[in-house]
């Protein structure tokens, strides 16, 4: 899918993650110190946000991010008429978590509520959905909530996931504006087994890291090139490439492969972890002050990639967007 949506703007972005940091070196008891150090050295992730509260839900973090977003921008909750929840860890199978959020945020009964099951590509997919709700004329202000609380689904003995993933969520306010956003999304169900969380007694996240990495290294440079051509930007004029944040190693590798300058590819994964659909807003949230100061938000490319397999890219202007620093949950 490839399309441009006109008269659209991202008004604000906010993120939230658990207050607790989990130091991965403590896993030396399970996996041995030299192995843990080797993995930390390879991924560039030494700690992640991981709640000790087994009752924490993705909606808790989304609620906090959305609540802060509304209060900091002085936007009344009753003016929101759409909410999209993108996650792989909904609160329950039914009803939809977006409906829970409608109630918890005090949104009107006229609100359109949608859940979408996506992971690391989910932020781009969510932005596309939100933008089409507005472009279609049905909604004026949509909140995109994207994120996961993945901790309960991490097998304590599985190194491929335990050293990488963290809990986190985001809220993004999309409304009518004067800018144009370009979108490209792609899907390949052939890779469905590379990253999955099946129903059943053993509900642990499975990841074939090598296959996922191979996919990302092959497809991300292509879709980034594609979105640049579609939006008629050269890579030199783009201030920020906000890529999904799987680990430091992969991001540095992609940056080198695409021949992008270091400052144009911000990284925020150490101390947080891979927060799936929240990782793109998370990196913007972490570096917003520097990105703004360096005038890097006028031309921005987003790129998410992962479970599905699915991947997507978006070209947009964030220079008029209020981006808040991440909040810790609970306050």
């Amino acid at each position: 899918m490839k399309c441009k949506i006109n008269n659209i703007n991202i008004t604000a972005i906010s993120c939230a993650y658990p207050r607790e940091k989990f130091d991965l070196i403590t896993l030396a008891e399970t996996f041995g110190e030299s192995e843990v150090k080797r993995i930390i050295n390879s991924t560039g992730i030494s700690s992640v946000r991981r709640s000790k509260n087994s009752n924490l839900r993705a909606s808790d973090l989304c609620w906090m991010a959305a609540e802060k977003l509304l209060s900091e921008t002085n936007i009344p909750a009753e003016t929101i008429d759409g909410i999209i929840f993108v996650s792989q860890t909904p609160d329950q199978k039914m009803p939809a978590t977006s409906i829970q959020l409608q109630k918890r945020l005090g949104l009107s009964k006229e609100t359109v509520t949608l859940d979408a099951n996506y992971g690391c590509s989910g932020y781009v997919y969510g932005l596309y959905l939100a933008s089409t709700l507005i472009a279609g004329g049905g909604c004026k202000r949509v909140i995109l909530c994207a994120g996961d609380v993945i901790t309960p689904h991490l097998n304590p003995l599985d190194k491929s996931v335990r050293f990488v993933f963290g809990d986190g969520a985001s809220a993004t306010l999309i409304e009518k504006g004067d800018s144009t956003m370009s979108f490209i999304t792609k899907t390949n169900g052939e890779g469905a087994d590379f990253l999955k969380l099946e129903n059943g007694a053993n509900e642990y996240l499975y990841m074939d890291g090598a296959k996922v990495m191979e996919f990302a290294l092959a497809e991300v440079p292509l879709i980034v090139e594609d979105i640049l051509g579609y939006h008629a930007w050269s890579k030199e004029e783009v201030g920020t490439f906000a890529l999904h944040q799987p680990n430091v190693f992969m991001l540095n590798y992609l940056r080198k492969k695409m021949k992008l300058e270091t400052a144009a590819v911000p990284i925020a994964v150490d101390g947080i972890g891979n927060t799936s659909s929240a990782s793109i807003p998370m990196v913007l949230s972490h570096h917003h002050a520097a990105l703004k100061a360096e005038n890097r938000l006028k031309k921005v490319v987003l790129c998410g990639f992962g479970v599905g397999l699915s991947w997507g890219a978006c070209a947009l202007d964030l220079s008029n967007t209020t981006i808040l620093s991440p909040y810790e949950y609970p306050i």
Binding site: R38, I39, S160, A210, M213, E214, L217, A218, M250, Y253
Partner: protein, 79 residues
């Protein structure tokens, strides 16, 4: 230069001097020959030689000789 950098990085990944190993040495007998090292190798080969090697191709390598032969074939560089 690139060749030496590559070999140095591979030695760091495997914690062994790969050139000192017999070509018939089985990769599976290397303690650190796991998915993390294989993924890092794919990236390293691409970075050093601009050659794309798939995870499947690496999985087909049984010995050090197979692995070196694959890299030489894809990169055109004699290690």
């Amino acid at each position: 230069m690139t060749k030496y950098y590559f070999l140095e990085q591979m030695n760091t990944l495997l914690e062994v001097d790969i050139k000192s190993l017999d070509k018939d040495f089985f990769l599976e007998n290397l303690v650190l020959w796991d998915s993390l090292t294989r993924v890092s190798s794919i990236a390293l080969i691409d970075e050093c030689f601009g050659a794309s090697i798939s995870g499947f191709e690496i999985e087909l390598c049984k010995t050090v000789g197979d692995f070196i032969k694959l890299i030489e074939k894809k990169s055109g560089v004699i290690l």
